[in-house]
């Protein structure tokens, strides 16, 4: 069963149709006349995509060889200097480390929670719709809308500390976002809150396709609940897990809204990500050339990971 649309390699249906058309000479002449029109149909999408995205990538590549503030007419070509500087930049490496830790933990927690919620809500519990709505609502709320609440909750006098004090854990109370040791874990927690609904919905839909007979057979063979989940359900939702892995990698590399709005990358760069660092260099600091070099590195990383996941998942399947 191929249930994984995201990674599907394109097929070549056009060849087959040509052969079919050849056998029906009456429609062939008509078809010939219609053939060129295929280009016109894809033209709007190509113009938008290629026109904006490829143009921008090319332009960014060019800017990355400049020393430029983005608006003045003075541009100085510096060759690969921006890239050389980047590899010596401790904040760049800090951003890479933050992104890696952030990805591993948020992916693991979201996947585990998504599977658990999906399995429980496919079981015999009441008020399923209520639980589904509660888990899913964060997905539709923009981080920018929620940021003021989160800054308050995790503040020194915030609700989290109040709860901790109420249950006698005062020694844990803490300015969560102002301490560089806890700022990144706090942002991970907020990210998990935001996106678990999405992994849950994807797994919920995928588990709906697992055949009840297979589960029944496992039960008759004496497998318990967790054993069934691990050995029967998980392998059959593998396509979904790969799709989520892909979304999480790209999502981690893109991370901008949550750190920018809640901690501004601080304290002391402890929550700096590639996205926020590119923004900081390009807009407030006006080091446009350096920001562009960072952008190109980000693009290379995103493409490399996407291709790796894609190739490895296809090799495993065959």
């Amino acid at each position: 069963m191929e249930d994984n649309v995201v990674m599907n390699a394109p097929t070549l249906p056009s060849k087959r149709r040509e052969v079919e058309a050849g056998s029906r000479s009456e429609s062939t002449s008509k078809r010939r006349r219609l053939m060129p029109s295929g280009y016109l149909w894809i033209l709007p999408a190509m113009v938008l995509c290629v026109g904006i995205i490829y143009y921008s990538v090319g332009y960014t590549g060019y800017i990355s060889t400049l020393e430029w503030d983005g608006s003045s007419p003075v541009q100085r070509s510096v060759g690969a200097d921006n890239y050389a500087q980047l590899f010596r930049d401790p904040i760049f490496w800090q951003a890479i480390r933050n992104t890696a830790v952030f990805f591993v933990i948020t992916f693991a927690v979201q996947t585990a929670l998504g599977i658990l919620f999906a399995a429980i809500l496919h079981s015999n519990v009441r008020l399923k719709v209520v639980y589904k709505v509660i888990i899913f609502v964060p997905v539709v709320l923009a981080p920018s809308i929620m940021a003021p609440s989160f800054r308050q909750i995790f503040g020194a006098n915030g609700q989290l500390n109040q709860v901790l004090e109420a249950v006698g854990l005062d020694f844990l109370a803490h300015p969560w976002l102002a301490d560089s040791a806890t700022a990144l874990p706090t942002l991970m927690l907020i990210t998990v809150w935001h996106w678990t609904g999405l992994t849950f919905i994807l797994y919920f839909a995928a588990m709906g396709q697992v055949e009840p007979e297979v589960l029944e057979a496992a039960r008759i063979d004496g497998a318990g609940n967790l054993r069934t989940l691990w050995s029967i359900v998980l392998p059959s939702v593998r396509g979904t897990t790969i799709a989520i892995l892909m979304l999480s990698i790209i999502g981690a590399l893109k991370t901008f809204d949550i750190p920018y709005l809640i901690t501004l990358g601080g304290p002391n760069y402890s929550t700096e990500f590639l996205g926020t660092y590119i923004y900081r260099q390009s807009i407030p600091l006006a080091n446009v050339g350096y920001g562009a070099a960072l952008s190109i590195i980000l693009l290379v990383l995103a493409l490399a990971f996407a291709i790796t996941v894609n190739v490895r998942s296809q090799r495993k399947e065959s």
């Binding site: 070549l12 919620f117 190109i296």
Partner: protein, 262 residues
Amino acid sequence: MFETRSRSAKIVLQVLVTLMVLPFLFPLVVMVQGSLAGIGWGNYEAVLSRPELPLFFRNSALISIATILLVYACTMLAAFAFSKLHIRGKEVYFWLILAALTLPEVILLTPLFSTTLQLGLYNTYWSVILPLAALQIPFTVLLTRSFMNGIPDGLIEAARIDGANTLRAFWHIVLPLTRPIAAAIIVLTFIGAWNNFLLPLVFLQSPDTQTITLLPTFFIGQFNNDQTKVLAAAVVTALPIVIAYLLLQRLFERGLAAGAIK
């Protein structure tokens, strides 16, 4: 999935899932509670009386609608051609669009910034609509093409034999069959456009064109960091999309699930 034979097992599962969803509810409760602190509903009156609020809403709505229309039209046309028409080197074009799937939007900032300035598009809706649509189209084309591959070619051939041209076959036969995937496209694009923060942050500097995602930051300045009013503003801006989700719950879930399930 989990089998619960005994009554106690049922109760344990129900209690467990209830405890597990509480943290998801917590920030929302804090937001609503905080917005009612101090002068209570007065916070909402203060926020709703600001002339910027309807303006920001209108801007977000216009940007979302234009993006949805653009994405829908481009996606349907391109996916139909990729699935059913002859194009020489089709897969090359298809991969050109697909490669853009991985692209983080932050990469577009500098080139688009100087380009929109030169073209006089800076501070206009188009400076946000066009990149939003360009970033959305790769994913929707991928989804829609595989959906259209499921529509039998015979249907279109039959229409042609009856004398319909490609455009008529597309309009009268293919489009009505693509309603489920159209719903997914609309929902995905709506969430992406309505919630986008980075593009408006960079390209929309005048309050005339700014969107609701910039509203909390805007009100932090306006209300002198009065947290209760900022939270009231957050609730007011969150409500439309929460209501839209509650009304169209199945549609939202199907739309997002369409990404991973055929």
